[in-house]
């Protein structure tokens, strides 16, 4: 799925994969940021 015969689609697939990982890291960071600000009940 990540590799394609078409070079452009191949590049876009890989870039999308990297973007999703970056987004996941950002979400993870925001979650702990919120926990630090408002957490600790």
């Amino acid at each position: 799925m990540l590799t394609s015969d078409d070079p452009l689609i191949d590049f876009l697939n890989k870039a999308l994969y990297v973007s999703i990982i970056i987004f996941a890291i950002a979400t993870y960071a925001l979650f702990f940021h919120m926990l630090r600000l408002y957490g600790g009940g």
Binding site: L8, L12, L16, S19, T27, A29
Partner: protein
């Protein structure tokens, strides 16, 4: 998402927009977590815009190259078609020549066979003629012998 049923440019646009959106939202999230300033926003925006520009430029170039390849392929196809046509013509001519040659050989062969058959017929006719003459002669001789035998029997009997 399955892209096998959508046009090529839709797939490209969808993935490109998805990447841009994900990176933008990620930047916003990082900015909330780690903080930032308007100058940093400007810098990141500029880098991002430059990156998008480079990617779009590359894609356009790729499209041009693809188009070039297509036209070359088209030209090549034309050339190949012409050569194939020439070859077919040449082959047709050769085939015709061969057929002519074969026709001539067949005719000669037929003539030869005909003359041999005629010769055979003549020989057969001669043979039967000779045979009938021979049998006639034999018949005459046999009749003479019969007559002589009858005469001798008559003499003996008398």
């Amino acid at each position: 998402m399955n892209f096998s049923r959508v046009p090529y440019y839709i797939e490209v646009a969808y993935k490109f927009a998805m990447i841009v959106w994900l990176l933008f939202v990620s930047y916003q999230l990082f900015r909330i977590v780690f903080g930032g300033s308007w100058i940093m926003d400007l810098g990141v925006g500029a880098v991002f815009a430059a990156l998008i520009g480079v990617i779009v430029g590359l894609v356009t170039e790729l499209g041009k190259i693809r188009q070039e390849i297509g036209s070359v392929r088209h030209e090549l196809g034309k050339e190949i078609g012409g050569v194939r046509q020439e070859m077919a013509k040449e082959m047709g001519g050769l085939r015709q020549e061969m057929a002519k040659e074969m026709g001539g050989i067949r005719q000669e062969l037929g003539e030869g066979i005909g003359s041999i058959r005629q010769e055979m017929g003549n020989l057969r006719a001669d043979f039967y003629k000779a045979l009938s003459e021979q049998s006639k002669e034999l018949h005459g001789e046999l009749t003479a012998i019969d007559k002589r035998v009858a005469r001798i029997e008559h003499k003996l009997g008398a």
